[in-house]
Symmetry: C2
Subunit: 219 residues, 2 copies
């Protein structure tokens, strides 16, 4: 029995290592995707789009691994839950990769039309917050630190505020000049994707406040 | 051994029944969410938002059930994969519920500002296609008909075309009158959410074609 437990622990170390590797790639792709939009860097965007496939492969490989471990070790209770959780985290990381790819794919559309450069600062701030959060979540998961994970929740509000600010600025630019609309629409989708990465759910429509945006359009 | 196999089969029937139930609720919430946007029906939107919680609960219950079945029956190979697949489907259905809720939450923002009524036809067409697809996917899954599922892929293109059309129309309305921008932005997010439900991935930015939208903004 002691032998089986130890073999299972070794399996878990392997699973953890894979998650850690996926997390690292995820962070890199997201950082590069946001950078490619800021710099209108189509080569960097291309790299993100191509390398996202590796993340998809890693998710499939992790699922294979977990299925094999369950079949071989037949874990129950907490051990089984750890494996199920690992599979869910891997699937979330794969989705973050998809979002990064989606952001990167918009570089062409943003770059070809007039875009307000002044927005850069707001977008940079938001991107910085999101990246810090993603890095911290993965670090705390690998370090198995649930308290630190809870503490991160407090920073969610900062990202809400920053997202609302970007949303409002983009609407203003669209209203000022119709030629900005296409580019701003794509930037809006980029911002929403980045926001979604962090909150883990699609943008709640009550932020930015419905009243505020309605008031802006009437102004 | 025959007894164990049969007990497991009974477990599977239970799992399938739960998925079926979740699928039904999912379809209903999505249909009502799209309807609430079309009719600017805030009461219907409220219902969608409230009932999405039931779907979250159903996903958690299904995960509990699957973990118990694995621990009790210790299935391997194909049986284990069926359970893992059920958990993934349940998680996808829960996400569709989130998207429906996100659509419903935008009713207020859309309703308070001037919105082009002519758009209704395009949005109706797209909503109809998406709902038909979602219903068919769940039916074919429950009937265990992989060929029929593959055939559905062919209809994806219709949804692409419809989404591109809605996207273009919305951009045109935004360019015509800045007062339309806030409402159209929320409708755009609704359309993207509905599109995402069906394609199972975030909107690929190369559809609508980058060139087309860039040309529109220059025009």
């Amino acid at each position: 029995m002691a032998h089986i437990v130890s073999a299972f622990d070794e399996d878990l170390v392997q699973v953890q290592a894979r998650i850690s590797e996926m997390g690292g790639l995820c962070e890199e792709l997201l950082a590069k995707a946001l950078q490619s939009v800021q710099d209108r860097d189509t080569a960097l965007a291309r790299e993100v789009i191509d390398r996202d496939r590796a993340l998809d492969g890693m998710e499939m490989a992790l699922e294979e691994m977990v299925v094999k471990i369950i079949a071989l070790r037949q874990p129950v209770a907490a051990d089984l839950r750890v494996l199920i959780a690992a599979m869910k985290i891997s699937s979330t990381l794969e989705r973050i990769g998809d979002l990064a790819k989606n952001i990167a794919k918009r570089v062409g559309a943003v770059g070809q039309t007039a875009t307000p450069r002044n927005l850069s600062h707001s977008i940079d701030s938001m991107a910085g917050l999101v990246l810090t959060q993603v890095n911290s979540v993965i670090d705390h998961y690998v370090a198995r630190d649930p308290e630190a994970l809870k503490a991160l929740r407090a920073d969610d509000e900062k990202i809400d505020i920053q997202y609302t600010s970007v949303f409002r600025e983009l609407l203003t630019y669209m209203m000022e000049d119709p030629r900005n609309i296409t580019a701003c629409t794509h930037l809006l989708f980029c911002a929403e994707n980045a926001y979604y990465v962090m909150t883990g759910q699609l943008l709640p429509a009550n932020r930015p406040k419905v009243d505020e945006t309605a008031a802006m359009s009437a102004a």
